[in-house]
């Protein structure tokens, strides 16, 4: 390697360290006991550790919320690849701006807000270009009381099968406006309370109720065959 090449390499290393705030690349060596202890720490403590440069603490936060975030984003986009990208982006954004997190809301609300806002922006950009990439339905569905109850009122249409029902549900959801879809997903799929949704979407509980009401009215029209 030439002298200039070596210099350039050095410059690259310094720039990386500076951009990451000097915290990211260093992974402290931990034993199992410490990792288990981290798993039980509160979000606030993990955020504080991340701020001090302990990226393993952030890993625990990622592990804690990845499934819930993924589910929300997936149900909003009806696309596995988009959901994967958006959730990863949300965690990266959160990691990079962890110092700007004031702690006025919980970490969960904050990361949720990042993910939902990114998803809404993404959906607005790709308006009218819906491409479904649906996840599989797990086998536990047969034991779900809601599903059993739903299937107890069998009509010829409903016998069409789960795959068609899944496609219809996703199609109907994609016809809602982005804020309405977000509210329906968070409440009816994720089971979040009105208050939590209001905090995530930075609006009043009244607005959440109103959005839910109008979204459900629209969905009842779109899914009338199954009701």
């Amino acid at each position: 390697m030439t002298v200039l090449g070596k210099l350039s390499e050095k410059l690259r290393t310094v720039t990386t360290e500076r951009r990451s705030g000097g915290a990211a690349p260093v992974q402290p060596v931990r034993d199992n006991e410490q990792e288990v202890a981290l798993q039980h720490e509160e979000d606030e403590a993990l955020v504080a550790r991340t701020r001090r440069g302990d990226s393993t603490a952030f890993d625990v936060l990622v592990q804690r919320y990845k499934e819930r975030l993924y589910a929300t984003v997936y149900h909003m986009t009806s696309n596995h690849e988009d959901a994967n990208d958006l959730v990863q982006d949300a965690f990266i954004k959160a990691y990079k701006s962890i110092n700007s997190f004031k702690g006025q809301s919980s970490f969960y609300t904050w990361i949720y807000r990042i993910a939902v806002n990114r998803t809404i922006n993404h959906l607005k950009r790709r308006k009218n270009r819906n491409h479904f990439s649906l996840d599989d339905i797990d086998s536990n569905i047969q034991a779900d009381p809601d599903f059993v109850e739903l299937m107890s009122h069998v009509t010829p249409r409903r016998e069409a099968g789960l795959t068609e029902l899944q496609a219809k549900l996703n199609e109907a959801l994609q016809k809602l406006s982005e804020p309405h879809r977000a509210v329906v997903v968070m409440h009816d799929v994720q089971g979040m309370t009105h208050a939590d949704i209001a905090r995530v979407m930075k609006c009043s509980e009244g607005t959440v109720r109103s959005r839910l009401f109008y979204a459900r009215q629209q969905l009842q029209g779109l899914l009338s065959d199954y009701l």
Binding site: I141, D146, Y226
Partner: protein, 211 residues
Amino acid sequence: MMECSKIQSRFDDLAENRLPETVRSEIQRHLAECTDCRVAQHRGLRLQRLIAVKRHEQPGGNYFESFLDDFHRRLATELAPRPGLVERVCQRLHIQHVPVMRYGFAQAMGVAVAVAMICRGLIATDWIANRGSEDRAFLESPHTVLARAVPSPHSTPRTIASLLPPTSEIPPAGSALIIPVPAHAVSGTPRYVLDHISVTPASYEVASIHF
């Protein structure tokens, strides 16, 4: 009595027991009387059950197990410095030793600009030296040129006449006469030539000029 739409917007709260007792009893009283709201409540519950089926859509394989590794990979890429324009061009053209090229290109650009400036200077000097006497007037100050081309306010009629075209070229009475003024002198000060001529302006009839 609450309106039907207001009642229907509180069905979630009613189902989750989040209403004060007075509101709760009022809604239940309304539901007992209003068939539309009862139907809406029933359909709403069925719709919620239907949407809840989506909970069973799960990514296959070991997606969540590899999630953290993917995150680390993406984070590392995100934190790595982005390649500059020159680097990207070099990468696209498959040119090796990009870092060296980066500095080499900057130096080469600097040298090229310096050489271009020096050449421009040399060419300009030669060009001036080789110009003919006519063109040298171009370098004279606008005042000198104007003094030569345009009569001063104190010029005698004879002087002015010497500036006019030969008699044969003088147009007949009634037509316009234009005193020739060099084009390059127009841009100098004073801007309006006629302001400094005490005689009748050139655009007037020739017949009005008396020598």
